[in-house]
């Protein structure tokens, strides 16, 4: 078995690992107990495996772990430790935007990334930004409402 040595930041912590060349980031994370990223479509469609690599959302089911060298990975387990998480959490709870919870971690990471780019200004931009994250329970209405709240809160507090 041929292995690649990679060094990267995982949720802020410097990490070194030997990974198989064909190893997917999703398997890498889940095998290490970081199970907040879920598996579903295996085709980069559904978004439940979303994690942030250098701040941008990627589908971990279609991303090779060996390409992580020098990069910065944020999963839901890391996001919850950031101050920004509280605003996301409160909005999702208030709007009942969590139903089964399977899509929720990936959805939050996408939203967190979009907020960094200040790309969310209108409801249309929110819908476009979230179109790569499927949800089957909520009908999206609650999630869009929560993001509108989050944008307003972020604007208020800088």
């Amino acid at each position: 078995v041929s292995l690649a040595e990679v060094g990267f930041r995982l949720n802020g912590r410097p990490t070194r690992a030997s990974v198989r060349h064909e190893e997917l980031l999703l398997d890498f994370l889940r095998d290490r107990g970081l199970t907040g990223a879920k598996r579903s479509c295996d085709a980069e469609v559904c978004g439940v495996c979303t994690v942030l690599v250098d701040g941008a959302p990627v589908s971990a089911c279609c991303y090779l772990a060996c390409e992580l060298d020098g990069r910065d990975v944020l999963t839901i387990e890391g996001l919850v430790t950031l101050p920004a998480f509280a605003v996301l959490e409160e909005a999702f709870v208030r709007r009942a935007a969590v139903q089964c919870g399977f899509c929720t971690p990936g959805m939050l990471l996408t939203i967190h990334s979009l907020l960094q780019d200040a790309a969310l200004t209108t409801e249309v931009s929110i819908r476009e930004g979230l179109s790569g994250n499927l949800c089957r329970c909520t009908g999206y209405r609650a999630i869009v409402e929560a993001v509108v709240d989050i944008v307003a809160a972020v604007d208020r507090h800088g």
Binding site: R30, T35, G36, A37, K38, R39, S40, C41, D42, A43, V45, C46, V48, T75, I76, E77, V80, L88, E89, F92, V93, A96, V98, Q99, C100, G101, F102, C103, T104, P105, L108, I126, R127, E128, L130, S131, G132, N133, L134, C135, R136, C137, T138, G139, Y140, R141, A142, I143, V144
Partner: protein, 742 residues
């Protein structure tokens, strides 16, 4: 109550669990649609390093290997014959998923192909190959009374009628008649079916994505010939169900391979495999409706054929529910319904949110609209004149209508501005969908409430939390009885070792039936607390109050922990109470039901682009006629979810088969709604008439809206000048049917 755990990615799903010594299973599926299995050679696969066991039909000789909660027609894996492309033929258990996959390619199966029937038409032909022969073996949980004998490939038939149908039709002034097609669709619960099975000397343990853990327990016990008390089914959080995880799915395979391997084995479906595991029935339907020129609806006659695939799964019940939905909620002089469940050489079909009603409501409502057009009566007006009133008969012998349908319809009509015409009527259509759905399944639920020494309450109830908010609602119901904050009540997942029996999680029954059991358990606990406090103070219980986690008498109070210490004479101990729900008359048959009629009422406005055929859903309103909204926000969210699934069912979702082979088995090819498909306006209107059988007059919701939205969209598209007889309303289909009338 569970939102924070889910938000933090800490809620555990079956796929997140690791059982010590666990193997990874992989399933070899038939490439043939219909074939005799001439031979299976597993030697090379068994010899592959890392492979622990390979199972085929030959390994099942010591058990009765057929299961099915309705009809025991399905072997754990194929025995001698495969009946659909994708049917499991062999299972490998290996140290890694990659090894298990590699071993599959080393299994040599020789098939002798048989004539096949991959469509309803070919399965119903006189010379059709028969999928099943011999007597029907009834399953334990269909609730349909005595099943009729099979006729050819018709595995179940459901019929009822009243009045002189032929005569009414021959004398009617207006008769609308048509043939319709509903596609097979995929439930797409984002968490695919996942099971871990462990076969020990004295107990079979399953961690499973099961909506109905107790029915799975019963089927596994029957299959492997052991008492139900020796089967333990654990269900953590479920990543969506929508019916796809109802009844038994991967569990028999997982137990069988774990038994052979002697170690725990995990089976996980891919999306492709999930579509081969269960889907919504495709349907053909013939319907006619009779009316008079004054707009009085007179009679309806319906024959429908549901494609249940190679095994019955929940087909019989879907068929009966479709039959019940077929007349629509109108006051008929005569009705005749024949609903047929048909075996085909396709993957099995089962439950999906609002089954039966979603199949039929759009068709009946299209015909009501056509009657309105021919009699020149406003469509809303025609409905209001003919809708059943409270207490009206949906089906002879069934529960009378328990809702105010005219009131519900008035709500959505007013919300969409029915009396104000659309600004561009040629491109914009509006529609209303009205229907009811037999809901509640069999009303058998039990619950236990434990008051712990620290004053916190634990509720044990077998309802599966799958996103509908069951744990929150159960906690609310218990907290209210015991004067506690919702956060002081804990509701966890089912473990059949400890959790008391609940029939199932489906048919919108969690709040109504399981909720009632929880409320009764909490009421009993409340009585016990009051009795104890009454003894302590020597005052009658009816002079005591409960609030803030304590019993109060005038200025005195006794917190629950103090109360328990007084009662047991030491710190520790707990009080236990139980609640149960069973059918009023002790019957519980589906035939005497339903538990309640779930209302499905919606109004929609669509824009149709005549050049491209693209339909855009602009505004949609649904009624959540829930009797009593225990948690109004969760009720609205149920309707929103159902609305968007309805949008997909109506406009673009369809499983495609190419001569029996699944053709669009990935989410790239099978599209589900995204945020970009959201309508501009989507609202749920809550109606509370306290007319349900559940706690405080509550009744279930979340399914009817799906059927109603499909009907509202279909009638709205027809209103925009498009001939509608087939779903989904894809741009091509819409464009062709505008041109036809052009």
């Amino acid at each position: 109550v569970d939102a924070r755990e889910k938000l933090r990615g800490q809620a555990e799903f079956v796929g997140d669990l690791r059982i010590p010594d666990m193997l990874h299973g992989s399933v070899l599926r038939s490439r043939c649609v219909h074939a005799r299995i001439a031979s299976v050679d597993t030697r090379a696969a068994c010899a592959l390093p890392g492979v622990a066991a390979v199972l085929t039909g030959a390994d099942l000789a010591d058990i009765d290997p057929y299961y099915g909660h309705a009809i025991r027609d399905r072997p754990v894996v194929a025995i001698d014959r495969v009946r659909f492309a994708g049917e499991p033929v062999a299972i490998v258990a290996a140290e890694s998923p990659a090894t298990a996959e590699a071993a599959l390619t080393l299994i040599d199966v020789q098939y002798e192909e048989l004539p096949s029937a991959c469509t309803l038409e070919s399965a119903l032909a006189l010379d059709a190959p028969l999928l099943h022969t011999g007597p029907v073996r009834e399953g334990e949980a269909h609730g349909l009374g005595k099943l009729p004998e099979r006729r050819g490939n018709i595995c179940y038939q459901y019929r009822f009628g009243s009045g002189k149908t032929e005569r009414v039709f021959s004398e009617a002034e207006v008769v609308v008649e048509g043939e319709y097609t509903f596609p097979s669709v995929y439930q797409y619960a984002m968490e695919t079916h996942t099971v871990i099975a462990q076969y020990a000397v004295d107990e079979i343990v399953l961690w499973a994505t099961a909506q109905h853990p107790f029915l799975v327990r019963g089927e596994i016990a029957a299959l492997f010939g052991i008492p139900v008390s020796k089967v333990r089914v654990v269900v953590p959080y479920l990543g969506g169900g929508f019916g796809s995880k109802s009844y038994t799915k991967l569990e028999p395979m997982a137990v069988a391979i774990a038994r052979k391997a002697g170690r725990p084995v995990r089976l996980v479906n891919s999306v492709h495999d999930a579509m081969l595991t269960t889907r919504r029935h495709g349907m053909r339907c013939w319907m006619r409706t009779a009316a008079n020129n004054d707009g009085r609806l007179l009679a309806r006659q319906v024959t429908l054929w549901l494609d249940t695939g190679a095994y019955a799964d929940n087909g019989p019940r879907v068929t009966a529910t479709a039959g019940d939905a077929a007349p629509g909620p109108y006051a008929w002089n005569a009705v005749e319904v024949e609903a047929l469940c048909v075996y085909t050489n396709l993957p099995p079909s089962g439950s999906y949110r609002a089954f039966g009603a979603t199949h039929l409501q759009w068709i009946g409502e299209l015909q009501v609209d056509e009657v309105a057009r021919r009699t020149r009566i406003d469509r809303l007006d025609l409905r209001q004149r003919n809708l059943l009133r409270r207490g009206g008969t949906i089906r002879p012998g069934a529960r009378p209508l328990d809702a105010d349908l005219p009131g519900d319809v008035a709500r959505v009509a007013s919300a969409i501005g029915w009396s104000t015409p659309a600004e561009t009527p040629k491109q914009v259509g509006r529609g209303i969908g009205v229907g009811v759905l037999a809901a509640g399944a069999q009303p058998v639920s039990t619950a236990i409430a434990r008051l712990e020494a620290d004053g916190q309450v634990v509720i044990l109830v077998g309802t599966t939390e799958m996103g509908q908010g069951a744990r929150t609602v159960m906690a609310q119901l218990a907290a209210e009885q015991l004067g506690l904050a919702v956060d002081d009540v804990r509701v966890r997942g089912t473990d059949t070792r400890f959790t008391p029996y609940d029939r199932s999680t489906g048919a919108s029954r969690s709040t109504t039936v399981a909720g009632l059991a929880v409320q009764r358990a909490a009421q009993e606990l409340r009585r016990r607390v009051l009795d104890i406090a009454s003894d302590v103070w020597g005052v009658p219980a009816d002079r005591l109050q409960i609030s803030g986690g304590a019993v109060r008498y005038e200025t005195e109070q006794l917190s629950y922990p103090d109360l328990l210490t007084r009662y047991f004479g030491m710190a520790g101990g707990e009080l236990i109470a139980h609640g149960e729900v069973r059918p009023e008359a002790g019957r519980g048959s589906f035939a005497s039901g339903p538990v309640f009629w779930e209302v499905g009422v919606a109004a929609a406005e669509v824009a149709v682009d005549a050049d491209t055929g693209v339909v855009q859903l602009r505004r949609v309103f649904t009624v959540a006629d829930v009797g009593k909204a225990i948690n109004p926000l969760l009720v609205e969210r149920q309707d929103h979810g159902a609305t968007v699934q309805g949008l997909g069912n109506a406009l673009f979702e369809e499983i495609l088969f190419d001569e029996g082979q699944l053709a669009n088995g990935t989410l790239l090819q099978y599209r589900v709604p995204t945020t970009l498909d959201l309508p501009d306006v989507m609202e749920s209107l809550i109606v509370e008439n306290a007319d349900g059988p559940g706690p405080d007059g509550a009744k279930g919701c979340g399914e009817g809206a799906l059927a109603a939205v499909v009907a509202a969209i279909a009638t709205a598209v027809a209103d925009a000048g498009v001939h509608v007889d087939t779903l989904p309303l894809t741009p091509e289909r819409v464009w062709r049917n505008i041109s036809k009338e052009g």
